[in-house]
Symmetry: C2
Amino acid sequence: MSKDKQFVREITPQGEDFSQWYIDVIKKADLMSYSPVRGCMVFKPDGYEIWENIQRELDKRFKETGHRNAYFPLFIPESFFQKEKEHVEGFNPELPWVTEAGGEKLEERLAIRPTSETMIGHMYAEWINSYRDLPLLINQWANVVRWEKRTLPFLRTTEFLWQEGHTAHEDEEDARRETMQMLEIYRDFAENFLAMPVIIGQKTPSEKFAGAVDTFSIEAMMKDGKAVQAGTSHYLGTNFAVAFDIKYLNRENQHQFVHTTSWGVSTRLIGATIMAHGDDRGLALPPKVAPTQVIMIPIGPPKTREQVVARTDELFAELKQAGVRVRVDDRADLSPGWKFNEYEMRGVPIRVELGPRDMENGQIVLVSRITGEKKIVQQVNFVQEVQQLLEEIHQEMFNRAKQHLEEHLITVDTLDEFKQYLETNRGFALAGWCGSEACEAQVKEEAGATSRNIPFSPRESKETCLVCGDKAKHTVVFGKSY
Amino acid sequence: MSKDKQFVREITPQGEDFSQWYIDVIKKADLMSYSPVRGCMVFKPDGYEIWENIQRELDKRFKETGHRNAYFPLFIPESFFQKEKEHVEGFNPELPWVTEAGGEKLEERLAIRPTSETMIGHMYAEWINSYRDLPLLINQWANVVRWEKRTLPFLRTTEFLWQEGHTAHEDEEDARRETMQMLEIYRDFAENFLAMPVIIGQKTPSEKFAGAVDTFSIEAMMKDGKAVQAGTSHYLGTNFAVAFDIKYLNRENQHQFVHTTSWGVSTRLIGATIMAHGDDRGLALPPKVAPTQVIMIPIGPPKTREQVVARTDELFAELKQAGVRVRVDDRADLSPGWKFNEYEMRGVPIRVELGPRDMENGQIVLVSRITGEKKIVQQVNFVQEVQQLLEEIHQEMFNRAKQHLEEHLITVDTLDEFKQYLETNRGFALAGWCGSEACEAQVKEEAGATSRNIPFSPRESKETCLVCGDKAKHTVVFGKSY
């Protein structure tokens, strides 16, 4: 029996069980399948195409800022991980090891890369000789593996797809400028492409990348009030330069260590986009990232069908020509009502209906997935109206997510206040923090929330630590997270 | 010291030592680095960008023919390989095994994928239920690993990048139509994008893919007369459908096994392109795949320099606007002569020179990498002239490679004839073959040449086997290969 004809399984309402809602929609919308390998998933075409759209847009932005792509080996010799102490401690527990190959036991075990600072550090030491070689601005699109204990499709999988930028610079200033530039690209991308507002800031020392001097992140809020770390950018100082001996001859003819950065986003952005925008009717995909932006459905009785389908095809061609990702569903054996539900569930931003009466009037109907509003427009303005509505839907989705974030970000003076809030609500807390790991750990223990980041522009600055009441060093966003 | 300023190492002439020529050019043109992992290489930006151009073009062609991309796990459980007998025998010796992960020994070893028929077969069994689900047309861009004994950058590496198409069909006819369609896409791509003529045909049983019913290939000739199998397309029959129980309910409501295909090209195309076109001056990249299609070099004395550079930048902007991949090298501390050699060695199809006299005359100089011819054109026609010359260079490169292939493909009646030819020449032999494995093996043993394929349109049909003299079943192309 065709997938399309299967009985329409209900989607669990978000308010009832958000995790089950998530699994229901990604299965029902055909984005993924579980694989027979623990924690690994299959990205089905509709899921993978979201990633392709993300890739295309980010790749353009990386190249516009002078980066080039390269590709480094999947395997990393065990000895490489020993060279940077924090890095090995951070990643060692999650590594899968190749111990045999080609029928023989290997002399040195090879890790499957969890991230490539070590391999790339090794290569940069070979490639970089002079200040003329700097900055070296390289990005890699690749698969990486981390043997996670608890997995969730897209958001936390054993193998995932990502990009990792790795750059080397003459000095701290230039490396920090790069770190911030890439973080800003991520923020802009999240907000203006995925319609997903983010909190931009610095990670606390306990949450930073293993081996980084400073880690910065963008944090998004899901519909259930939990956080997704949607992108990170690290200033690595000379940590990896010292570990891998990456030196250059500077303008004064002296050998210096380079300063490096790394930054990445992954396929977890797919999961974040779904959880940030979806509703009880299913997926709601932001227009810029949606594999199908417009679904066209001819309607009406059999006797006018041929004419209506023919006109639909003409308008389809116009829209396609204009670069809109559009599809027609003219299957005669499925009712319009079934199709309306189906594409609503799949999160297609605009549904277009064309019936015999619309034909007579030279009109056509556009329906927004996000507001449900119907708009009757003249066929002669079809392309322009669709493009405008796609823009409006993007803006509307961003505004709704922004409002949700603001309404679920409370400001608290004490940990008790936060805990009390979480008993009946879900969301983040903005609070003062003294800077001690102990206080941070206590928030985690009692509220189940981690520090998300120290926002660059908190809406308010807090004076005292939410745990110990001492003078606050920072104003921090705390939240439960995926 | 900057790479750009290093002493220009000579390139070993092709006639002296072709293998050394190859290593010299790919190192000197900065396409790759050896990695610390045996048989794995690093694709540096200029090498990787060739792959990006290949990917973009092929991906477009795959999508135009109804295929969609997906992504399947890197790891394949050991038990999966046991399900298709020929497949396991073919790939088992080359597999790397993950035996430990996350600090524990795994219950079942996981292979790193050498190709994904097994994993995808397993998933298709889950996804396919009815004839309505067919054909299922999916492609994957991924890294794969084969633990090769002898490796050569790009051409044969332990880890490499590729695409693998996997499709499922109702019957043999439709699956064979797909197999041929993809083979034809590869042929067209090789010839019209990489300017690399190929021999299109069927592999003999001993050379076919492990698990295929029939394997078809495109075979290209390198400058040293050796072959590169540049792409393959397999009709897999119901072999994997039976192994993984991929059944569908047909239009008569009966359960049937699907017929599957798979087809792939890899980063070895980069190596093939280099070996098919390069010469003693270095790389010669076909315009459509070249990362830089045009290099612009302002020349002349310091007093006119500012003006010349300014005009160069204007013309650069026009060309870039027209979609040409163009760069300017206006570094003042390097001589024009040094730059001419450098970009010739890097294989940039067109060099553009602009000097003070050209400025006065409203002219500009175009130089073809492949013919060395200078063409003085009017600046007002600059974009159009460049685009036309890029077309001409593509055609010239194809013609030269075609002529080389034709001149080094001899027709022989006996193995001795072929052996004699190979003593002083290099190339392929077209010969009759009785169809026995023994005769094929003897060619390999005595001439070091394997059957490349049974060409669809041999220029001549041979009547008797080159080894045993019996009646020929097929006319085959034999050749040494990478």
